[in-house]
């Protein structure tokens, strides 16, 4: 399976090639990949159904305890099935939706990579691996949302989605590290068995906050819900995929996965159920003011995600069963409805539901699919959505804390969702026929296949919910209710949830009836909703830009000496502080010195100082030579014959180099004011002084065992050489030397390239090379 997922990335890279071979049929060919993975998953079902966890072990970075192990239990299996099956359908659908689109190959690359990242995310057992795939989904979804990169809104939405989810990802990384510390394992299947240890740990609260931040941003929970509707700038197949089965469900997946490890505490229950319920109501309420069919669906997705979070928060056995059923139901109807929305857009040329009407006569097949999926969204029998909604209301009635508030929010969300479903289905397909930009008709069978199949599944599982018993049982077994006995049914008799359902039906239809008037009222409230979290995000981004701009202007002002002074002052401050306050001034060195050595040092100083103050370039080069030869002499005096020879030879070559280059350069110029020189002298002297003090401190400090003792002892026995320096260079540390050879080679090639390839074709180094070159450069500038 690891091979399949990693191979999937390779397949993604090959998509342009497939496109060249198969043309517009490439998406169909591509869909074979998720389809075959789905078949493999079905083949593993007996293992999962028997309650076992399938562990596919694979080491990755053993030294850091990072594995590529995949763990497949009921939850991972259900998610993986949704990802592969809906993925295959979306690819088939894409073949029609983006037929002939210029960027189809790019789309295939990114969506396949996304699919594999998502699959890796739900299958990963190691926290680090999970995080890597988590971030990969953020990046690939960024590319998918911004697919129409010429559209400013799409780019902005993509960036917003990326920043919100990756910002949460950062918190998640911290959370994972804390989780691994607290649970003493990076492996999920071990962590979920250490729930009591984790819940009692001191780090529980911070790690919970971090993990929840990651999950809430990814799953667009309030107050991070705003990026999701904006992400509707993506092409419809992307929306269908990202918002039905994948991306946004990653956060919910993570919460469910960690439920046995972290769930059940008071903070978990209250946070999740309240955030979830508020998200539900917010999503459903905000949907009311939109007429764009994709926005309506997006807000209902926010509502669906809120529901899932809330159910995990409640965390009773019933709630977990409801979670599993609602998850499946939502994926099926939302996938179908998004694809229907794409068909409407594709066939009529508009996304505005108020601009459509009476389409059922022209697009009967689409109308049926939309109707079935819409009924499931509305939570009406005999569809899976109804089963899910009944279970949801039952578990809310059982919730322990804040029951009334959550019930109120859930009920509001339920009837508003019903209204949304009515808007999406009744508006375009019923009522008075309206003219649309394009004459509508049913799309091809290929395009209808995806939504049709999903809607049919919604209906099938709704009519015979018993079919799902083993799957739901396996899922809840993995997330904290191993003993649960699952018996799903469409009809539970006359009870309170049914009464609530009926009430929400009545209220929902009423809302739909007065929707136009309600919308007008909501538009008047718009200034209020505009002050929501999104405004906070915008302000934050604007502030960040101002901050970055300011600090760039301040720090990176283009004056090389400012960079140097800044760096040196920081160095002086930090190292000097540490030196004086931790170490203290304690130079404890005895001075043993001969006269000729002192003269050598004096010559060095004289050469260096002279090189600085000389007014002529030749004198400066000569002064440098004096210094260089004194250094060579020092190497001779202090037992370094190889260094002395090298220094002498390099000194000679340096003079040649400087003669060749320096005298082609202008004369020394005095460009600075005396004040500037004084300032520079101060900084330079301080740094030099610090280095002197540091060196004295090092010399008087305790000598640690030298690594070179080994080299001295083994130079002859192991290296067969009597010159230890050379043995180090070519044997003990030969890899370093190899690297240095490459540096030298690169420097030489750089010199050659700068001197010989400086002119672009046509400009040329001609007889009067320099002037000509300068003038062409000016033309370009």
């Amino acid at each position: 399976m690891q091979t399949a997922v990693l191979g999937g990335f390779v397949a993604a890279a090959m998509a342009p090639l497939l496109h060249r071979w198969f043309g517009s049929r490439a998406p169909l060919v591509m869909s074979l990949l998720p389809a075959s993975l789905a078949v493999w998953l079905i083949g593993q079902w007996p293992v999962i159904a028997s309650g076992d966890v399938l562990l596919l072990e694979q080491a990755w970075v053993p030294g850091l305890d990072i594995t590529l192990t995949f763990m497949i239990d009921g939850l991972a299996w259900l998610f993986a099935m949704l990802i592969t099956v809906i993925g295959a359908l979306v690819l088939v659908y894409t073949g029609e939706y983006l037929r002939g689109h210029r960027d189809l190959p790019r789309f295939l690359v990114v969506i396949t990579a996304f699919m594999m990242s998502m699959l890796g995310l739900v299958l990963a057992d190691n926290l680090v691996t999970l995080f890597v795939f988590w971030e990969l989904t953020s990046i690939t979804s960024y590319l998918l949302i911004g697919f129409n990169h010429t559209d400013l809104a799409a780019r902005k939405a993509a960036l917003q989605g990326l920043l919100v989810t990756v910002g949460g990802g950062l918190a998640l990384l911290a959370g994972f590290v804390l989780l691994a510390l607290a649970g003493d394992s990076w492996s999920l299947h071990e962590l979920v068995q250490r729930g009591d240890l984790l819940r009692g740990h001191d780090l529980y609260t911070p790690l919970l906050i971090c993990v929840l931040l990651g999950a809430f941003t990814k799953s667009a929970q309030f107050p991070f819900h705003f990026w999701l509707p904006n992400a509707m700038a993506a092409p419809t197949p992307v929306s269908a995929y990202l918002h039905s089965a994948t991306m946004v469900k990653a956060g919910v997946y993570l919460l469910a996965r960690l439920h046995p490890a972290l769930g059940g505490t008071e903070s978990w229950v209250i946070t999740l159920s309240l955030v979830g319920a508020v998200t539900m109501a917010t999503g459903a309420f905000l949907a009311m003011q939109h007429t764009n069919v994709k926005k309506l669906l997006a807000y209902s997705t926010v509502m669906g995600l809120g529901t899932l979070t809330m159910l995990l928060g409640i965390g009773t056995e019933k709630a977990l069963v409801a979670f599993a059923v609602f998850l499946l139901a939502h994926s099926l109807y939302k996938g179908a409805l998004f694809m229907v929305a794409g068909i409407l857009d594709h066939e009529t040329g508009t996304k505005d539901v108020t601009a459509m009407g009476g389409l059922r006569h022209l697009m009967p097949a689409t109308a049926i699919v939309a109707g079935v999926a819409g009924l499931s969204l509305a939570g009406l029998p005999p569809l899976l959505g109804f089963v899910g909604k009944e279970l949801m209301l039952t578990s809310v009635l059982e919730s322990s804390s804040w029951r009334l508030l959550i019930l109120l929010l859930a009920f509001t969300a339920a009837f508003l969702t019903l209204a949304v479903a009515a808007i999406i289905v009744l508006r375009p397909f019923f009522g008075k026929r309206q003219d649309t930009p394009r004459p509508p008709h049913d799309p091809s069978r290929v395009m209808l296949a995806g939504p049709g199949l999903l809607a049919a599944l919604s209906l099938l599982f709704g009519l015979v919910p018993g079919l799902l018993d083993p799957v739901v049982g396996a899922v809840v077994a993995g997330i904290g209710a191993p003993e649960a006995k699952v018996h799903l049914a469409l009809w539970h008799g006359l009870n309170l949830p049914l009464a609530l359902s009926l009430a929400s039906l009545a209220l929902g239809l009423t809302t739909y009836r007065f929707w136009d008037r309600l919308r007008a009222g909501l538009t008047r409230l718009a200034p209020l909703t505009r002050r929501g979290p999104e405004a906070g995000y915008d302000a934050l981004m604007a502030g960040l830009v101002i901050l970055a701009d300011g600090q760039t202007r301040f720090l990176q002002n283009g004056y090389i000496r400012n960079y140097l002074v800044m760096t040196l002052l920081v160095l002086l401050g930090l190292v000097g502080h540490a030196f004086f306050f931790r170490h203290g001034l304690a130079p404890d060195v005895t001075l043993s010195i001969y006269f000729h050595e002192a003269v050598t040092a004096g010559l060095m100083i004289a050469g260096a100082v002279a090189a600085c103050v000389m007014r002529s370039r030749l004198a400066a080069v000569a002064a440098l030579g004096v210094m260089g030869f004194s250094i060579a002499l020092t190497f001779v005096l202090f037992s370094a014959p190889d260094l002395a020879i090298t220094q002498l030879l390099v000194e000679t070559l340096t003079v040649i180099l400087l003669v060749l280059v320096l005298f082609r350069l202008p004369h020394f110029a005095t460009l600075s004011t005396p004040t500037e020189r004084l300032r520079d002298l101060l900084v330079a002297s301080l740094t030099g002084g610090l280095i002197t003090l540091l060196m004295l401190a090092v010399l008087s400090g305790e000598r640690l065992p030298r690594i070179s003792d080994y080299m001295v002892a083994n130079s002859q026995p192991l290296g067969h050489g009597h010159n230890i320096v050379n043995v180090i260079l070519v044997d003990f540390r030969a890899l370093d030397t190899l690297g240095e050879m490459f540096v030298l080679a690169l420097a030489a090639i750089g010199v050659f390239a700068m001197l010989r390839f400086h002119a672009a074709p046509g400009e040329g180094v001609d007889r009067d090379g320099r002037r000509n070159l300068a003038s062409t450069e000016d033309d370009h500038g």
């Binding site: 190889d642 070559l653 009597h722 030489a748 180094v765 090379g769």
Partner: protein, 156 residues
């Protein structure tokens, strides 16, 4: 380019070059046991070639060298990398030194020696690449009478 230096320089450069090259070889081969080695020998050889370059001009140098100094860099890097491979052959970790004694002349051949020759070639090649490029550019820019059409086309 004509002889740019004086007569003494010309003669000295021509006579000194073989001696200096011989000396650099000596330094290279003895480097493992006494002061010397690839870096030092390479610098000596570069100095010798640089002297020749100043005396006889870049074209004379390239005619004598037969190969471009840039090819020397490539060969040196190749030797350096190749010297890592015999260890692989012998089943030792990457870069482990291998020693063979050539029987008749009792000479110790080894991968460190091959590596040192690689260092030598890289040093010679790098220094010569930089210096010849500088000298040739100067000629192109300041010595238009000695302008070489073929060379010019090559640089494009």
């Amino acid at each position: 380019m004509g002889r740019s230096g004086t007569l003494i320089l010309n003669v000295a450069a021509r006579l000194l070059l073989p001696l200096q090259l011989l000396f650099s070889m000596f330094l290279l081969l003895r480097g493992h046991d006494e002061p010397g080695g690839g870096f030092i020998a390479g610098l000596v050889a570069s100095g010798a070639f640089a002297l020749y370059l100043f005396a006889q001009g870049p074209r004379a140098l390239s005619e004598m060298l037969k190969v471009s100094p840039r090819d020397l860099i490539g060969m040196g890097l190749l030797l350096g990398v190749l010297s890592t491979l015999p260890a692989w052959w012998a089943g030792d970790p990457f870069f482990t030194a291998q020693w063979w004694t050539i029987p008749i002349i009792d000479f110790k051949a080894s991968t460190p020696l091959i590596f040192d020759i690689g260092v030598y070639l890289v040093v010679v090649g790098s220094v010569l690449t930089a210096i010849t490029a500088l000298v040739e550019t100067d000629q192109d820019e300041y010595d238009p009478t000695d302008y070489d059409q073929a060379d010019h086309d090559q640089t494009h």
